[in-house]
Point group: C2
Chain length 208, copies 2
């Protein structure tokens, strides 16, 4: 048979921590190797714990979960970290994901969802609760009513990627003056008069 999935819990609420521990220890194939009330309390032991999956709360005394994430990643690069928190603000979600969390669950998640998520992340998958998925998906969604044409969007996108007008002209096989002409129209449509304002406005309104 395959090895047990080794789990570490880092959660400051005593009741919740014990609840998760007993819940997960009862799952076949799972073993909770340790449970800590804070990252600061856990850090000397994590190495010996050899966890496959870490359930990490954000709100904790001392180093909080998001601050701890990079340190855990560095100490245990192969471990998968699932954020388990009451917070689901876009800022926290994006920060956790950029820091390499393998999952983001809110604490209203059912026991079955948490168990599923642990199985998922330990096989390299991703896991998020539906409210988090909604936040993430919205962040991708472009404005389908952009006033910019295809060509203008293409050019503004390249400007946002640091290309100069002459580089864009070369890449698109058109004259620099053509690019300039498009840029003028972009500025008029976005009601701006500089590169940085155009990028800022376009990103805010999700035109690019």
């Amino acid at each position: 048979m395959s090895q047990n999935i080794r789990i570490v819990l880092i959660e400051d609420d005593d009741i919740l921590r014990m609840g998760y521990e007993s819940l997960l220890n009862d799952v076949a194939g799972f073993v909770v190797v340790n449970a800590y009330a804070s990252y600061d309390l856990s850090k000397k032991h994590l190495d010996a714990d050899r966890p496959d999956v870490i359930l990490l709360d954000i709100q904790m005394p001392g180093t909080n979960g998001l601050q701890a994430l990079p340190f855990i990643k560095k100490a245990l690069p192969q471990a998968n970290i699932i954020i388990l928190t009451v917070f689901d603000s876009p800022e926290l979600v994006f920060e956790a994901l950029t820091l390499g969390a393998g999952g983001y669950l809110t604490k209203n998640s059912s026991a079955a969802k948490i168990i599923d998520a642990i199985k998922e992340v330990s096989t390299g998958g991703g896991a998020m609760s539906t409210n988090v998925a909604r936040i993430v998906m919205r962040s991708f969604q472009k404005n389908l009513n952009s006033p910019l044409t295809k060509r203008e969007t293409e050019i503004l996108d390249r400007i946002a990627n640091g290309q100069t007008k002459s580089q864009i002209a070369t890449d698109l096989f058109i004259d620099q003056e053509t690019v300039r002409s498009h840029v003028k129209n972009i500025y008029i449509k976005l009601d701006v008069n500089s590169k940085s304002e155009a990028i800022k406005t376009a990103k805010e309104k999700r035109f690019i």
Copy 2:
């Protein structure tokens, strides 16, 4: 009692389409109002169908699912569209999400997951299968071993957002020459010698 969730299927495979139809019609609170073998066949009827949720295949004769997405969004702005496909390449996933899909499921999803997903999106949530979640989460993850310092990352990020060195200097309350100095170091570390190369390299390596 609340209204039924009105579902439309657009799926070219006859067996699958009928399978989904009978599966979903058996769910309490769901009603499959129509099922089409292609978007082209559906478009005249969608308005009358008044669907709350549309399950949309990508691979179809005529207009494919991703091409159809903007048209459906325009015709039925309140409808939630779930992409249901065999494909899970990052390109297709991101395109679907930028076009406003409310869910992205791969066809290996279980019946229960599909039913869950429909319930989720119709209450404004997001739904994705775990392989899709993995792709999405990876796209957020930053490189934690960036050679750039905090200050350098901050400055490069602002450059990537179209700010000039003097604007950056003003915003950060430092001298333009200090910004220039940081930029020089960024260029050396990234082995580039222009703004656009720096942005390109840094984005590729996920330093910003």
